[in-house]
Symmetry: D2
Subunit: 155 residues, 4 copies
Amino acid sequence: MAGVNKVILVGNLGSDPEIKYLEGDNAVANFSIATTEAYKNRNGERVEQTEWHDLEMWGAQAKIAEQYLKKGSQIYVEGKLKTDKWQDEQGQNRYRTKIRVLSFTMLGGKPDGATSGSPSATPQATQQKPASAAPTAAPKAQEMVTDAEDDDLPF
Amino acid sequence: MAGVNKVILVGNLGSDPEIKYLEGDNAVANFSIATTEAYKNRNGERVEQTEWHDLEMWGAQAKIAEQYLKKGSQIYVEGKLKTDKWQDEQGQNRYRTKIRVLSFTMLGGKPDGATSGSPSATPQATQQKPASAAPTAAPKAQEMVTDAEDDDLPF
Amino acid sequence: MAGVNKVILVGNLGSDPEIKYLEGDNAVANFSIATTEAYKNRNGERVEQTEWHDLEMWGAQAKIAEQYLKKGSQIYVEGKLKTDKWQDEQGQNRYRTKIRVLSFTMLGGKPDGATSGSPSATPQATQQKPASAAPTAAPKAQEMVTDAEDDDLPF
Amino acid sequence: MAGVNKVILVGNLGSDPEIKYLEGDNAVANFSIATTEAYKNRNGERVEQTEWHDLEMWGAQAKIAEQYLKKGSQIYVEGKLKTDKWQDEQGQNRYRTKIRVLSFTMLGGKPDGATSGSPSATPQATQQKPASAAPTAAPKAQEMVTDAEDDDLPF
DNA sequence: TTTT
DNA sequence: TTTT
Protein backbone atom coordinates (compact mmCIF):
# COMPACT_ATOMS: atom_id res chain seq x y z
CA MET A 1 0.00 0.00 0.00
CA ALA A 2 2.93 2.20 0.50
CA GLY A 3 3.07 4.24 -2.64
CA VAL A 4 5.07 7.02 -4.20
CA ASN A 5 3.75 8.83 -7.25
CA LYS A 6 5.96 11.77 -8.03
CA VAL A 7 6.70 13.82 -11.11
CA ILE A 8 9.35 16.51 -11.40
CA LEU A 9 9.45 18.71 -14.47
CA VAL A 10 11.31 21.76 -15.68
CA GLY A 11 9.81 23.14 -18.86
CA ASN A 12 8.16 26.02 -20.65
CA LEU A 13 4.47 26.80 -21.01
CA GLY A 14 3.12 26.20 -24.50
CA SER A 15 0.37 28.75 -23.96
CA ASP A 16 -1.14 30.97 -21.30
CA PRO A 17 -2.88 29.03 -18.51
CA GLU A 18 -6.60 28.48 -18.99
CA ILE A 19 -8.42 29.10 -15.78
CA LYS A 20 -11.96 28.19 -14.85
CA TYR A 21 -13.70 29.60 -11.81
CA LEU A 22 -15.97 27.23 -9.95
CA GLU A 23 -18.52 27.55 -7.22
CA GLY A 24 -17.28 28.49 -3.78
CA ASP A 25 -14.40 30.60 -5.05
CA ASN A 26 -12.54 27.53 -6.25
CA ALA A 27 -10.54 27.55 -9.48
CA VAL A 28 -8.68 25.19 -11.81
CA ALA A 29 -5.90 26.08 -14.18
CA ASN A 30 -4.90 23.90 -17.11
CA PHE A 31 -1.95 24.26 -19.42
CA SER A 32 0.85 22.28 -21.04
CA ILE A 33 4.56 22.50 -20.66
CA ALA A 34 7.24 21.19 -22.98
CA THR A 35 10.38 19.44 -21.88
CA THR A 36 13.04 19.09 -24.52
CA GLU A 37 15.82 16.59 -24.54
CA ALA A 38 18.76 16.75 -26.92
CA TYR A 39 20.88 13.76 -27.82
CA LYS A 40 23.08 12.45 -30.57
CA ASN A 41 21.75 9.62 -32.72
CA ARG A 42 23.76 6.75 -34.17
CA ASN A 43 25.03 8.99 -36.95
CA GLY A 44 26.30 11.54 -34.51
CA GLU A 45 23.61 14.02 -35.46
CA ARG A 46 22.02 16.15 -32.82
CA VAL A 47 18.35 15.41 -32.37
CA GLU A 48 15.80 17.19 -30.22
CA GLN A 49 12.86 15.42 -28.72
CA THR A 50 10.05 17.41 -27.16
CA GLU A 51 7.56 15.96 -24.78
CA TRP A 52 4.34 17.77 -23.81
CA HIS A 53 2.82 17.44 -20.35
CA ASP A 54 -0.71 18.46 -19.34
CA LEU A 55 -0.78 20.17 -15.98
CA GLU A 56 -3.65 20.85 -13.65
CA MET A 57 -3.60 23.19 -10.66
CA TRP A 58 -6.30 23.90 -8.13
CA GLY A 59 -7.32 26.69 -5.78
CA ALA A 60 -4.88 29.41 -4.87
CA GLN A 61 -2.27 27.85 -7.08
CA ALA A 62 -4.51 28.23 -10.10
CA LYS A 63 -4.98 31.90 -9.35
CA ILE A 64 -1.28 32.46 -9.00
CA ALA A 65 -0.69 30.65 -12.26
CA GLU A 66 -3.19 32.92 -13.94
CA GLN A 67 -1.43 35.98 -12.57
CA TYR A 68 2.20 35.12 -13.17
CA LEU A 69 2.55 32.40 -15.74
CA LYS A 70 2.20 32.85 -19.43
CA LYS A 71 3.20 31.30 -22.71
CA GLY A 72 6.93 30.69 -22.65
CA SER A 73 7.39 30.94 -18.86
CA GLN A 74 9.87 28.43 -17.50
CA ILE A 75 8.74 26.59 -14.37
CA TYR A 76 9.81 23.87 -11.99
CA VAL A 77 6.89 21.63 -11.17
CA GLU A 78 6.31 18.86 -8.71
CA GLY A 79 3.19 16.77 -8.84
CA LYS A 80 1.64 13.37 -9.28
CA LEU A 81 0.34 11.40 -12.21
CA LYS A 82 -3.38 11.02 -12.69
CA THR A 83 -4.84 9.04 -15.55
CA ASP A 84 -8.46 9.45 -16.55
CA LYS A 85 -9.96 6.37 -18.16
CA TRP A 86 -13.33 6.27 -19.86
CA GLN A 87 -15.12 4.60 -22.71
CA ASP A 88 -15.90 6.43 -25.90
CA GLU A 89 -19.03 6.01 -28.00
CA GLN A 90 -17.48 2.99 -29.70
CA GLY A 91 -17.02 1.37 -26.34
CA GLN A 92 -13.26 1.66 -26.56
CA ASN A 93 -11.08 2.47 -23.59
CA ARG A 94 -9.73 5.98 -23.75
CA TYR A 95 -6.97 7.35 -21.54
CA ARG A 96 -5.63 10.76 -20.73
CA THR A 97 -2.80 11.33 -18.29
CA LYS A 98 -2.17 14.63 -16.60
CA ILE A 99 -0.01 15.94 -13.82
CA ARG A 100 -1.78 17.22 -10.77
CA VAL A 101 0.60 19.94 -9.58
CA LEU A 102 1.45 19.96 -5.88
CA SER A 103 4.01 22.75 -5.98
CA PHE A 104 5.73 24.90 -8.53
CA THR A 105 8.06 27.81 -8.80
CA MET A 106 8.88 30.20 -11.61
CA LEU A 107 12.41 30.02 -12.90
CA GLY A 108 14.68 32.48 -14.55
CA GLY A 109 14.92 36.22 -14.26
CA LYS A 110 12.26 38.83 -14.45
CA PRO A 111 9.24 37.73 -16.38
CA ASP A 112 9.03 39.24 -19.82
CA GLY A 113 7.36 42.59 -19.79
CA ALA A 114 7.91 43.19 -16.12
CA THR A 115 9.33 46.60 -15.57
CA SER A 116 10.35 46.68 -11.96
CA GLY A 117 11.72 43.21 -11.72
CA SER A 118 8.86 42.16 -9.52
CA PRO A 119 6.48 39.60 -10.94
CA SER A 120 3.73 41.14 -8.87
CA ALA A 121 4.06 44.28 -10.98
CA THR A 122 1.46 43.21 -13.49
CA PRO A 123 -1.44 41.40 -11.93
CA GLN A 124 -3.80 41.66 -14.84
CA ALA A 125 -7.41 41.41 -13.83
CA THR A 126 -9.60 39.44 -16.15
CA GLN A 127 -13.29 39.80 -16.80
CA GLN A 128 -13.80 36.17 -16.14
CA LYS A 129 -12.44 36.33 -12.66
CA PRO A 130 -14.95 37.04 -9.89
CA ALA A 131 -14.11 39.73 -7.40
CA SER A 132 -13.62 37.24 -4.60
CA ALA A 133 -10.59 35.89 -6.40
CA ALA A 134 -8.76 39.18 -6.04
CA PRO A 135 -5.25 38.33 -4.94
CA THR A 136 -5.05 40.00 -1.57
CA ALA A 137 -1.79 38.73 -0.17
CA ALA A 138 -0.95 36.23 -2.86
CA PRO A 139 2.42 34.53 -2.73
CA LYS A 140 4.60 35.15 -5.72
CA ALA A 141 5.21 32.48 -8.30
CA GLN A 142 8.91 32.86 -7.76
CA GLU A 143 8.47 31.38 -4.36
CA MET A 144 7.42 27.80 -4.03
CA VAL A 145 3.67 27.63 -4.43
CA THR A 146 2.20 24.61 -2.69
CA ASP A 147 -1.21 23.08 -2.87
CA ALA A 148 -2.67 23.36 0.62
CA GLU A 149 -5.76 21.43 -0.25
CA ASP A 150 -4.04 18.32 -1.41
CA ASP A 151 -4.66 16.46 1.80
CA ASP A 152 -8.35 16.01 1.46
CA LEU A 153 -8.87 16.64 -2.23
CA PRO A 154 -6.72 14.15 -4.10
CA PHE A 155 -8.82 14.15 -7.27
CA MET B 1 15.01 24.39 -23.89
CA ALA B 2 16.60 23.09 -20.81
CA GLY B 3 14.29 20.36 -19.70
CA VAL B 4 13.70 17.97 -16.85
CA ASN B 5 11.25 15.11 -17.25
CA LYS B 6 11.42 12.84 -14.27
CA VAL B 7 9.09 10.33 -12.67
CA ILE B 8 9.68 8.55 -9.38
CA LEU B 9 7.38 5.73 -8.35
CA VAL B 10 7.14 3.14 -5.63
CA GLY B 11 4.44 0.59 -6.30
CA ASN B 12 3.47 -3.02 -6.91
CA LEU B 13 3.23 -4.89 -10.18
CA GLY B 14 -0.32 -5.67 -11.22
CA SER B 15 0.86 -8.66 -13.25
CA ASP B 16 4.01 -10.39 -14.42
CA PRO B 17 6.05 -8.37 -16.92
CA GLU B 18 5.31 -9.07 -20.58
CA ILE B 19 8.50 -9.31 -22.51
CA LYS B 20 9.01 -9.23 -26.26
CA TYR B 21 12.27 -10.23 -27.89
CA LEU B 22 13.27 -8.21 -30.92
CA GLU B 23 15.89 -8.53 -33.59
CA GLY B 24 19.48 -8.09 -32.56
CA ASP B 25 19.01 -9.52 -29.09
CA ASN B 26 17.01 -6.50 -27.99
CA ALA B 27 14.01 -6.80 -25.71
CA VAL B 28 11.15 -4.74 -24.29
CA ALA B 29 9.25 -5.37 -21.11
CA ASN B 30 5.85 -3.88 -20.38
CA PHE B 31 3.83 -3.97 -17.21
CA SER B 32 1.83 -1.78 -14.87
CA ILE B 33 2.36 -0.80 -11.30
CA ALA B 34 -0.14 0.55 -8.81
CA THR B 35 0.51 3.38 -6.40
CA THR B 36 -2.02 3.74 -3.65
CA GLU B 37 -2.65 6.85 -1.63
CA ALA B 38 -4.76 6.93 1.50
CA TYR B 39 -6.40 10.07 2.83
CA LYS B 40 -9.32 11.17 4.90
CA ASN B 41 -12.23 12.82 3.14
CA ARG B 42 -14.38 15.65 4.47
CA ASN B 43 -16.35 13.21 6.58
CA GLY B 44 -13.23 11.86 8.20
CA GLU B 45 -13.55 8.57 6.40
CA ARG B 46 -10.45 6.84 5.13
CA VAL B 47 -10.37 6.61 1.37
CA GLU B 48 -7.92 4.80 -0.86
CA GLN B 49 -7.07 6.01 -4.31
CA THR B 50 -5.12 3.77 -6.64
CA GLU B 51 -3.33 5.02 -9.70
CA TRP B 52 -2.04 2.66 -12.41
CA HIS B 53 1.14 3.43 -14.35
CA ASP B 54 2.28 1.75 -17.56
CA LEU B 55 6.00 1.05 -17.57
CA GLU B 56 8.32 0.20 -20.43
CA MET B 57 11.85 -1.11 -20.08
CA TRP B 58 14.40 -1.90 -22.79
CA GLY B 59 17.42 -4.09 -23.29
CA ALA B 60 19.16 -5.65 -20.33
CA GLN B 61 16.66 -4.04 -17.98
CA ALA B 62 13.83 -5.85 -19.68
CA LYS B 63 15.59 -9.17 -19.23
CA ILE B 64 16.22 -8.52 -15.57
CA ALA B 65 12.59 -7.55 -15.12
CA GLU B 66 11.55 -10.81 -16.70
CA GLN B 67 13.81 -12.74 -14.36
CA TYR B 68 13.13 -11.08 -11.06
CA LEU B 69 9.86 -9.16 -11.14
CA LYS B 70 6.46 -10.69 -10.93
CA LYS B 71 2.89 -9.87 -10.02
CA GLY B 72 2.89 -8.18 -6.63
CA SER B 73 6.58 -7.28 -6.55
CA GLN B 74 7.27 -3.88 -5.01
CA ILE B 75 9.70 -1.70 -6.93
CA TYR B 76 11.24 1.75 -6.92
CA VAL B 77 11.28 3.19 -10.42
CA GLU B 78 12.83 6.23 -11.99
CA GLY B 79 12.00 7.21 -15.52
CA LYS B 80 10.54 9.78 -17.85
CA LEU B 81 7.12 10.46 -19.27
CA LYS B 82 6.43 9.62 -22.88
CA THR B 83 3.07 10.24 -24.47
CA ASP B 84 2.12 8.55 -27.72
CA LYS B 85 -0.35 10.52 -29.78
CA TRP B 86 -2.11 9.19 -32.85
CA GLN B 87 -5.40 9.45 -34.67
CA ASP B 88 -7.95 6.68 -34.56
CA GLU B 89 -10.19 5.59 -37.42
CA GLN B 90 -12.65 8.36 -36.56
CA GLY B 91 -9.89 10.89 -36.95
CA GLN B 92 -9.88 11.65 -33.25
CA ASN B 93 -6.73 12.32 -31.29
CA ARG B 94 -5.80 9.47 -29.03
CA TYR B 95 -3.22 9.58 -26.28
CA ARG B 96 -1.41 7.04 -24.17
CA THR B 97 1.18 7.98 -21.61
CA LYS B 98 3.75 5.57 -20.31
CA ILE B 99 6.86 5.73 -18.21
CA ARG B 100 10.10 4.86 -19.93
CA VAL B 101 12.10 3.36 -17.06
CA LEU B 102 15.68 4.57 -16.67
CA SER B 103 16.47 2.71 -13.48
CA PHE B 104 14.70 0.55 -10.96
CA THR B 105 15.36 -1.52 -7.91
CA MET B 106 13.40 -4.23 -6.17
CA LEU B 107 12.23 -3.41 -2.68
CA GLY B 108 11.49 -5.44 0.34
CA GLY B 109 12.99 -8.66 1.56
CA LYS B 110 13.92 -11.79 -0.27
CA PRO B 111 11.83 -12.42 -3.33
CA ASP B 112 9.25 -15.11 -2.94
CA GLY B 113 10.66 -18.55 -3.51
CA ALA B 114 14.24 -17.50 -2.99
CA THR B 115 15.95 -19.81 -0.60
CA SER B 116 19.29 -18.22 0.03
CA GLY B 117 18.21 -14.64 0.16
CA SER B 118 19.82 -13.93 -3.18
CA PRO B 119 17.49 -13.12 -6.03
CA SER B 120 20.02 -14.55 -8.44
CA ALA B 121 19.30 -17.95 -6.94
CA THR B 122 16.48 -18.73 -9.29
CA PRO B 123 17.06 -17.44 -12.79
CA GLN B 124 14.26 -19.33 -14.45
CA ALA B 125 14.71 -19.78 -18.16
CA THR B 126 11.63 -19.40 -20.26
CA GLN B 127 10.76 -21.06 -23.52
CA GLN B 128 10.07 -17.76 -25.14
CA LYS B 129 13.52 -16.40 -24.46
CA PRO B 130 16.14 -16.98 -27.17
CA ALA B 131 19.44 -18.46 -26.12
CA SER B 132 21.30 -15.27 -26.76
CA ALA B 133 19.41 -13.63 -23.96
CA ALA B 134 20.90 -15.95 -21.39
CA PRO B 135 21.86 -13.82 -18.40
CA THR B 136 25.58 -14.33 -18.19
CA ALA B 137 26.57 -11.79 -15.61
CA ALA B 138 23.24 -10.11 -15.10
CA PRO B 139 22.98 -7.53 -12.36
CA LYS B 140 20.43 -8.31 -9.71
CA ALA B 141 17.17 -6.48 -9.46
CA GLN B 142 17.93 -5.60 -5.86
CA GLU B 143 20.71 -3.44 -7.10
CA MET B 144 19.92 -0.38 -9.11
CA VAL B 145 19.36 -1.43 -12.69
CA THR B 146 20.08 1.37 -15.11
CA ASP B 147 19.36 1.75 -18.76
CA ALA B 148 22.73 2.00 -20.49
CA GLU B 149 21.22 2.65 -23.88
CA ASP B 150 19.26 5.68 -22.90
CA ASP B 151 21.76 8.10 -24.37
CA ASP B 152 21.15 7.39 -27.99
CA LEU B 153 17.80 5.67 -27.88
CA PRO B 154 15.38 8.07 -26.26
CA PHE B 155 12.29 6.60 -27.89
CA MET C 1 14.84 33.20 -4.60
CA ALA C 2 12.98 30.37 -6.10
CA GLY C 3 14.56 27.35 -4.53
CA VAL C 4 14.25 23.61 -4.52
CA ASN C 5 15.97 21.56 -1.84
CA LYS C 6 14.91 17.96 -2.12
CA VAL C 7 16.38 14.65 -1.05
CA ILE C 8 15.00 11.24 -1.92
CA LEU C 9 16.42 8.16 -0.24
CA VAL C 10 15.70 4.47 -0.07
CA GLY C 11 17.75 2.76 2.57
CA ASN C 12 17.87 0.75 5.78
CA LEU C 13 18.04 1.98 9.35
CA GLY C 14 21.41 1.42 10.99
CA SER C 15 19.81 1.36 14.44
CA ASP C 16 16.51 1.90 16.17
CA PRO C 17 15.31 5.53 16.09
CA GLU C 18 16.29 7.63 19.06
CA ILE C 19 13.39 9.72 20.19
CA LYS C 20 13.35 12.68 22.52
CA TYR C 21 10.17 14.09 23.99
CA LEU C 22 10.03 17.84 24.35
CA GLU C 23 7.73 20.28 26.04
CA GLY C 24 4.24 20.63 24.67
CA ASP C 25 3.98 17.05 23.53
CA ASN C 26 6.47 17.62 20.76
CA ALA C 27 9.05 14.98 19.80
CA VAL C 28 12.11 14.51 17.61
CA ALA C 29 13.43 11.28 16.23
CA ASN C 30 16.99 10.83 14.99
CA PHE C 31 18.53 7.91 13.19
CA SER C 32 20.73 7.03 10.25
CA ILE C 33 20.02 5.10 7.13
CA ALA C 34 22.46 3.48 4.76
CA THR C 35 22.23 3.58 0.99
CA THR C 36 24.45 1.14 -0.82
CA GLU C 37 25.59 1.40 -4.39
CA ALA C 38 27.30 -1.39 -6.26
CA TYR C 39 29.50 -0.85 -9.29
CA LYS C 40 32.37 -2.41 -11.15
CA ASN C 41 35.76 -0.78 -10.91
CA ARG C 42 38.37 -0.51 -13.66
CA ASN C 43 39.44 -4.09 -13.02
CA GLY C 44 35.92 -5.36 -13.41
CA GLU C 45 35.64 -6.14 -9.73
CA ARG C 46 32.37 -5.53 -7.97
CA VAL C 47 32.65 -2.86 -5.31
CA GLU C 48 30.09 -1.73 -2.79
CA GLN C 49 29.96 1.78 -1.49
CA THR C 50 27.79 2.61 1.49
CA GLU C 51 26.73 6.09 2.36
CA TRP C 52 25.20 7.00 5.73
CA HIS C 53 22.57 9.70 6.10
CA ASP C 54 21.43 11.34 9.32
CA LEU C 55 17.69 11.81 9.44
CA GLU C 56 15.58 13.99 11.69
CA MET C 57 11.82 13.78 12.07
CA TRP C 58 9.51 15.92 14.14
CA GLY C 59 6.12 15.68 15.82
CA ALA C 60 3.73 12.92 14.86
CA GLN C 61 6.24 11.56 12.38
CA ALA C 62 8.75 11.03 15.16
CA LYS C 63 6.21 9.08 17.16
CA ILE C 64 5.33 6.89 14.22
CA ALA C 65 9.00 6.28 13.58
CA GLU C 66 9.41 5.19 17.18
CA GLN C 67 6.50 2.79 16.86
CA TYR C 68 7.19 1.18 13.52
CA LEU C 69 10.78 1.66 12.48
CA LYS C 70 13.69 -0.25 13.85
CA LYS C 71 17.19 -1.31 12.99
CA GLY C 72 17.17 -2.82 9.53
CA SER C 73 13.81 -1.40 8.39
CA GLN C 74 13.81 -0.30 4.79
CA ILE C 75 12.22 3.08 4.13
CA TYR C 76 11.56 5.57 1.37
CA VAL C 77 12.29 9.08 2.58
CA GLU C 78 11.70 12.51 1.18
CA GLY C 79 13.14 15.56 2.83
CA LYS C 80 15.44 18.53 2.61
CA LEU C 81 19.07 19.17 3.41
CA LYS C 82 19.96 21.18 6.47
CA THR C 83 23.53 21.94 7.41
CA ASP C 84 24.43 23.08 10.88
CA LYS C 85 27.52 25.23 11.03
CA TRP C 86 29.27 26.27 14.23
CA GLN C 87 32.70 27.00 15.58
CA ASP C 88 34.49 24.61 17.85
CA GLU C 89 36.74 25.54 20.77
CA GLN C 90 39.66 26.00 18.39
CA GLY C 91 37.64 28.49 16.44
CA GLN C 92 37.38 26.20 13.47
CA ASN C 93 34.28 25.91 11.34
CA ARG C 94 32.43 22.66 11.94
CA TYR C 95 29.64 21.33 9.76
CA ARG C 96 27.04 18.63 10.09
CA THR C 97 24.48 17.93 7.42
CA LYS C 98 21.27 16.12 8.09
CA ILE C 99 18.05 15.42 6.28
CA ARG C 100 14.92 16.93 7.70
CA VAL C 101 12.31 14.35 6.72
CA LEU C 102 9.10 15.67 5.18
CA SER C 103 7.52 12.33 4.39
CA PHE C 104 8.41 8.69 4.56
CA THR C 105 6.92 5.29 4.05
CA MET C 106 7.96 1.84 5.14
CA LEU C 107 8.90 -0.54 2.38
CA GLY C 108 8.80 -4.27 2.03
CA GLY C 109 6.50 -6.81 3.52
CA LYS C 110 5.27 -7.24 7.02
CA PRO C 111 7.60 -5.79 9.58
CA ASP C 112 9.67 -8.36 11.37
CA GLY C 113 7.95 -9.79 14.38
CA ALA C 114 4.51 -8.72 13.29
CA THR C 115 2.13 -11.60 13.59
CA SER C 116 -1.00 -10.43 11.88
CA GLY C 117 0.59 -8.60 9.03
CA SER C 118 -0.48 -5.27 10.45
CA PRO C 119 2.24 -2.97 11.67
CA SER C 120 -0.21 -1.52 14.15
CA ALA C 121 -0.24 -4.88 15.89
CA THR C 122 2.58 -4.06 18.24
CA PRO C 123 2.52 -0.50 19.50
CA GLN C 124 5.06 -0.91 22.22
CA ALA C 125 4.82 1.67 24.93
CA THR C 126 8.09 2.93 26.29
CA GLN C 127 8.86 4.28 29.72
CA GLN C 128 10.39 7.34 28.23
CA LYS C 129 7.26 8.32 26.40
CA PRO C 130 4.81 10.52 28.28
CA ALA C 131 1.21 9.44 28.37
CA SER C 132 0.11 12.27 26.16
CA ALA C 133 2.09 10.80 23.32
CA ALA C 134 -0.05 7.68 23.26
CA PRO C 135 -0.83 6.97 19.65
CA THR C 136 -4.57 7.31 19.53
CA ALA C 137 -5.32 7.12 15.84
CA ALA C 138 -1.82 7.08 14.49
CA PRO C 139 -1.33 6.59 10.77
CA LYS C 140 0.69 3.57 9.83
CA ALA C 141 4.23 3.82 8.61
CA GLN C 142 3.30 1.84 5.54
CA GLU C 143 1.24 4.75 4.42
CA MET C 144 2.95 7.95 3.50
CA VAL C 145 3.66 9.88 6.68
CA THR C 146 3.92 13.58 6.07
CA ASP C 147 5.13 16.38 8.25
CA ALA C 148 2.13 18.62 8.84
CA GLU C 149 4.12 21.21 10.70
CA ASP C 150 6.61 21.90 7.99
CA ASP C 151 4.91 25.07 6.89
CA ASP C 152 5.71 27.19 9.86
CA LEU C 153 8.53 25.24 11.46
CA PRO C 154 11.27 24.92 8.88
CA PHE C 155 14.09 24.54 11.38
CA MET D 1 21.01 -3.27 -0.05
CA ALA D 2 18.93 -1.73 -2.73
CA GLY D 3 19.59 1.94 -2.35
CA VAL D 4 18.50 5.28 -3.66
CA ASN D 5 20.54 8.37 -2.88
CA LYS D 6 19.21 11.32 -4.79
CA VAL D 7 19.36 15.07 -4.40
CA ILE D 8 17.48 17.59 -6.51
CA LEU D 9 18.27 21.27 -6.15
CA VAL D 10 17.36 24.52 -7.83
CA GLY D 11 19.48 27.39 -6.63
CA ASN D 12 21.96 30.13 -7.40
CA LEU D 13 25.75 29.98 -7.36
CA GLY D 14 27.31 31.92 -4.50
CA SER D 15 30.50 32.39 -6.49
CA ASP D 16 32.17 31.38 -9.73
CA PRO D 17 33.07 27.68 -9.91
CA GLU D 18 36.58 26.79 -8.79
CA ILE D 19 38.11 24.34 -11.16
CA LYS D 20 41.20 22.22 -10.71
CA TYR D 21 42.86 20.41 -13.59
CA LEU D 22 44.29 17.01 -12.78
CA GLU D 23 46.50 14.55 -14.54
CA GLY D 24 45.13 12.84 -17.60
CA ASP D 25 42.99 15.78 -18.66
CA ASN D 26 40.63 15.23 -15.77
CA ALA D 27 39.07 18.13 -13.88
CA VAL D 28 36.98 18.88 -10.79
CA ALA D 29 34.79 21.87 -10.21
CA ASN D 30 33.63 22.97 -6.79
CA PHE D 31 31.14 25.63 -5.84
CA SER D 32 28.16 26.30 -3.60
CA ILE D 33 24.58 27.06 -4.41
CA ALA D 34 21.96 28.63 -2.20
CA THR D 35 18.39 27.48 -1.93
CA THR D 36 16.06 29.90 -0.23
CA GLU D 37 12.77 29.05 1.33
CA ALA D 38 10.23 31.61 2.45
CA TYR D 39 7.58 30.95 5.03
CA LYS D 40 5.44 32.72 7.59
CA ASN D 41 6.28 32.24 11.24
CA ARG D 42 3.81 32.04 14.12
CA ASN D 43 3.48 35.80 14.15
CA GLY D 44 2.59 35.88 10.50
CA GLU D 45 5.90 37.48 9.59
CA ARG D 46 7.62 36.43 6.41
CA VAL D 47 10.94 34.73 7.09
CA GLU D 48 13.59 33.62 4.65
CA GLN D 49 15.81 30.67 5.30
CA THR D 50 18.81 30.07 3.10
CA GLU D 51 20.60 26.78 2.87
CA TRP D 52 24.02 26.41 1.24
CA HIS D 53 25.04 23.27 -0.63
CA ASP D 54 28.54 22.28 -1.68
CA LEU D 55 28.64 20.81 -5.16
CA GLU D 56 31.32 18.79 -6.88
CA MET D 57 31.48 18.01 -10.60
CA TRP D 58 33.97 15.92 -12.51
CA GLY D 59 35.33 15.62 -16.02
CA ALA D 60 33.53 17.22 -18.92
CA GLN D 61 30.89 18.54 -16.56
CA ALA D 62 33.49 20.49 -14.64
CA LYS D 63 34.73 22.09 -17.84
CA ILE D 64 31.25 23.08 -18.88
CA ALA D 65 30.62 24.53 -15.45
CA GLU D 66 33.76 26.59 -15.79
CA GLN D 67 32.65 27.90 -19.16
CA TYR D 68 29.02 28.68 -18.51
CA LEU D 69 28.31 29.01 -14.82
CA LYS D 70 29.18 31.98 -12.72
CA LYS D 71 28.25 33.73 -9.52
CA GLY D 72 24.50 34.19 -9.47
CA SER D 73 23.67 31.64 -12.18
CA GLN D 74 20.53 29.66 -11.47
CA ILE D 75 20.81 25.91 -12.03
CA TYR D 76 18.87 22.70 -11.68
CA VAL D 77 21.07 19.99 -10.22
CA GLU D 78 20.67 16.28 -9.70
CA GLY D 79 23.19 14.32 -7.73
CA LYS D 80 23.92 12.19 -4.72
CA LEU D 81 25.01 12.83 -1.17
CA LYS D 82 28.55 12.03 -0.18
CA THR D 83 29.83 12.60 3.33
CA ASP D 84 33.54 12.71 4.07
CA LYS D 85 34.44 11.65 7.57
CA TRP D 86 37.88 12.05 9.11
CA GLN D 87 39.52 12.71 12.44
CA ASP D 88 41.07 16.05 13.23
CA GLU D 89 44.25 16.60 15.26
CA GLN D 90 42.22 16.41 18.47
CA GLY D 91 41.01 13.00 17.44
CA GLN D 92 37.48 14.24 16.96
CA ASN D 93 35.24 13.05 14.18
CA ARG D 94 34.76 15.65 11.51
CA TYR D 95 32.18 15.51 8.74
CA ARG D 96 31.60 17.35 5.51
CA THR D 97 28.74 16.58 3.18
CA LYS D 98 28.73 17.51 -0.45
CA ILE D 99 26.65 16.77 -3.48
CA ARG D 100 28.31 14.83 -6.26
CA VAL D 101 26.54 16.22 -9.31
CA LEU D 102 25.29 13.68 -11.84
CA SER D 103 23.54 16.10 -14.15
CA PHE D 104 22.67 19.76 -14.26
CA THR D 105 21.14 22.34 -16.52
CA MET D 106 21.23 26.11 -16.55
CA LEU D 107 17.94 27.82 -15.95
CA GLY D 108 16.50 31.11 -16.97
CA GLY D 109 17.03 33.17 -20.05
CA LYS D 110 20.18 34.15 -21.81
CA PRO D 111 23.19 34.25 -19.57
CA ASP D 112 24.35 37.70 -18.67
CA GLY D 113 26.49 39.24 -21.36
CA ALA D 114 25.38 36.81 -24.02
CA THR D 115 24.38 38.69 -27.11
CA SER D 116 22.96 36.06 -29.38
CA GLY D 117 21.04 34.09 -26.86
CA SER D 118 23.46 31.21 -27.13
CA PRO D 119 25.52 30.45 -24.07
CA SER D 120 28.25 29.12 -26.31
CA ALA D 121 28.75 32.65 -27.56
CA THR D 122 31.33 33.49 -24.93
CA PRO D 123 33.57 30.59 -24.15
CA GLN D 124 36.23 32.46 -22.28
CA ALA D 125 39.53 30.64 -22.24
CA THR D 126 41.48 30.79 -19.04
CA GLN D 127 45.18 30.70 -18.48
CA GLN D 128 44.81 27.89 -16.01
CA LYS D 129 43.16 25.60 -18.49
CA PRO D 130 45.46 23.32 -20.49
CA ALA D 131 45.02 23.22 -24.23
CA SER D 132 43.69 19.72 -24.16
CA ALA D 133 40.66 20.93 -22.32
CA ALA D 134 39.61 23.11 -25.24
CA PRO D 135 35.89 22.58 -25.68
CA THR D 136 35.67 21.16 -29.15
CA ALA D 137 32.10 20.06 -29.33
CA ALA D 138 31.10 20.78 -25.79
CA PRO D 139 27.45 20.43 -24.87
CA LYS D 140 25.83 23.61 -23.65
CA ALA D 141 24.93 24.13 -20.05
CA GLN D 142 21.36 24.85 -21.09
CA GLU D 143 21.06 21.28 -22.12
CA MET D 144 21.21 18.57 -19.54
CA VAL D 145 24.84 17.87 -18.77
CA THR D 146 25.36 14.36 -17.48
CA ASP D 147 28.28 12.70 -15.85
CA ALA D 148 29.37 9.94 -18.20
CA GLU D 149 31.99 8.64 -15.85
CA ASP D 150 29.73 8.01 -12.94
CA ASP D 151 29.55 4.30 -13.57
CA ASP D 152 33.05 3.43 -12.59
CA LEU D 153 34.06 6.45 -10.58
CA PRO D 154 31.56 6.80 -7.77
CA PHE D 155 33.88 8.67 -5.45
C1' DT E 1 28.59 33.47 -0.86
C1' DT E 2 23.33 33.60 -4.28
C1' DT E 3 18.64 35.24 -5.61
C1' DT E 4 13.96 38.20 -5.03
C1' DT F 1 -4.33 -5.71 -12.39
C1' DT F 2 -1.08 -4.69 -7.06
C1' DT F 3 -0.41 -3.98 -2.01
C1' DT F 4 -2.10 -3.27 3.26
